[in-house]
Symmetry: C2
Subunit: 342 residues, 2 copies
């Protein structure tokens, strides 16, 4: 037998300060302390100060698990993106979580890897934390996922795309419109040969389809397509472009499904000593910060990633506050930025 007891009374030893401790020290009831934290306007100024002093003195940290259980509001928000490491999604999340934090919510992040089944299992897991709302990327979800979301009975905001039939709210823009706009731009500029450098990404495919449809209508059916797997990269752009070039593609314009790919393509074109845009023209997608500063500066499709994040947060917050005005569909639009690669 040991003289000092083992660590099995850890719970007691490390027991942290609770709301009751603060209440006792301040000489008020626990519920008053709760009010100081959650509805300070409903407490007399004198009491408020007394309690706040006690909070500071004890170093009290509210327990959101207990609060969430009692109030049925976890103040947690789930966010699911295809890829955390892709700065394009990361930027949306940055602005989304910033605004959610300002409103008193914390963000639980998950990565679906562009896979529906992974998104589904992620939703199942993340719902255990009883988030008050959920941020999804895209509008395509498995039936089971939709069922779970419906059963969870919480606000859902879908992003990055647009649909007349969102699960709840959708914030994004039309990828079909993007495809059409670029196709029409290529036709207007009079490019003879047309190519596509695209990732195997759902939204990229949407853009590609409408892009091709417009060209077809104009009689252009001979479009060279180079597809690369997700996640995309600079290297994938080089390889994808190399494939196009090796097949004899020249004196034409290429629509790339991302700026990252376009940047790789740029490198490949330059390494072959071809002239941009005279021999190869290029349009990116995303207007990443570097797009304006590549050599030559990249023509690309711009849309506001930050705005998507903010509007998505606003949509959830207005739902939480039971606000009347609920715009179910928020189109943030896009813009073709003409620089020097076309």
């Amino acid at each position: 037998m040991q003289s000092s007891p083992p660590e099995n009374n850890r719970t007691r030893a490390t027991r942290s300060v609770t709301l009751d401790d603060v209440a006792k020290l301040a000489g008020v009831s626990p519920i008053t302390v709760s009010r100081v934290l959650n509805h300070p306007d409903k407490v007399a100024v004198k009491t408020l100060e007394k309690v706040q002093k006690a909070i500071a003195l004890t170093g009290y940290v509210p327990n959101m698990l207990a609060g969430g259980l009692a109030s049925k509001r976890s103040r947690l928000i789930a966010a699911i993106v295809p890829s955390i490491a892709n700065s394009v999604y990361a930027e949306t999340i940055k602005f989304f979580s910033e605004r959610m934090r300002d409103a008193g919510y914390q963000v639980l992040l998950g990565e679906s890897g562009h896979k529906q089944e992974q998104e589904e299992s992620l939703i199942a897991t993340i719902l255990r934390s009883r988030p008050d709302g959920i941020f999804l990327t895209g509008i395509n979800h498995s039936p089971q996922a939709k069922k779970m979301l419906f059963a969870a009975n919480i606000p859902v905001v879908e992003t990055w795309d647009i649909t007349p039939t969102p699960l709840d709210v959708v914030v994004g823009f039309s990828h079909q419109d993007v495809g059409r706009a670029v196709a029409e731009y290529f036709v207007d500029k009079g490019f003879e040969r047309i190519g596509i450098l695209s990732a195997e990404d759902h939204r990229a495919q949407l853009r590609q389809q409408s892009f091709l449809k417009v060209l077809e209508r104009k009689g252009k059916t001979d479009v060279s397509i180079s597809t690369v797997p997700v996640p995309t990269s600079f290297l994938a752009g080089r390889i994808g472009m190399a494939r196009l070039l090796d097949e004899g593609f020249i004196d034409g314009a290429v629509f790339s499904s991302s700026d990252t790919l376009a940047q790789g393509a740029l490198a490949e074109i330059q390494s072959r000593g071809l002239e941009i845009p005279r021999q190869i023209a290029l349009v990116g997608f995303g207007d990443q910060p570097y797009a304006a500063h590549t050599v030559p500066p990249l023509t690309t499709v711009k849309f506001d990633r930050a705005l998507i994040g903010q509007k998505a947060a606003d949509a959830l917050i207005s739902r939480f506050n039971n606000e009347k005005f609920d715009q179910k569909i928020v189109d943030v639009g896009f813009q073709l930025i003409e620089r020097q690669t076309t």
Copy 2:
């Protein structure tokens, strides 16, 4: 008065399935259902199946808030990075959260914006969720932050840097060593003029200091320094490099504090028609995916971002499991990758 009641009985109406419901349906006690979920090996196979059937039938989703409150294990992990949108940190987080998820934990993400006071307030907020562990970037934290972390009494893993005195565990590498290694490499290669293109980032400054110290010892005190603010960008790299070039820097080697800056620098150098590496040599930092494929391929310092994330997760997980072996300091090292910009 309305004929149908208003929505104030929402709690009852949308009341979700609880563990008790499952227990009743399966004809067992609630605690047995709990065991099925948390310790399935302690339940008879027959009972297990019966309960699992009931779970599937009811669509039961465990409530982690309740479970966490009762067990004092939230299965939440807090992670704080300087910048979510910076793919370098994002990649570490990706691998960290992947491994944590496999172990049954979810990640709460926060952004400190490279600021200590913001990190501090973030820690205060995030501790309310009673995370079981916390992932920090860097080893510099405010005294108040350290106090809160200590009071929280949970495992802490600091990353991206190394120190003999971590708060708890540290996973990273020595930035001083990086600075020294690059300086020695420049001296060995015989570069006459030396420049620095660096962000106002704490770790970049560490590298810069030891870099300068080595050069000084070799008698090189005339180093041109161009500093740019965080967050860094391609454009910042161009601007920073332009400043160096405008000051007459030529026929020398530049140590850039990130590949992003280096890529911008590359564009600036090329746009001026200077030859790489004959007139300007360049070393980046990070070995981003594109570094090997720029034109010309970038010499840079490589370190394993994924490994940092994984090792950090492993450190926390081994702590949770009360495993004996606890390596307090995990050095993942780095490597100078010589390509064609030097």
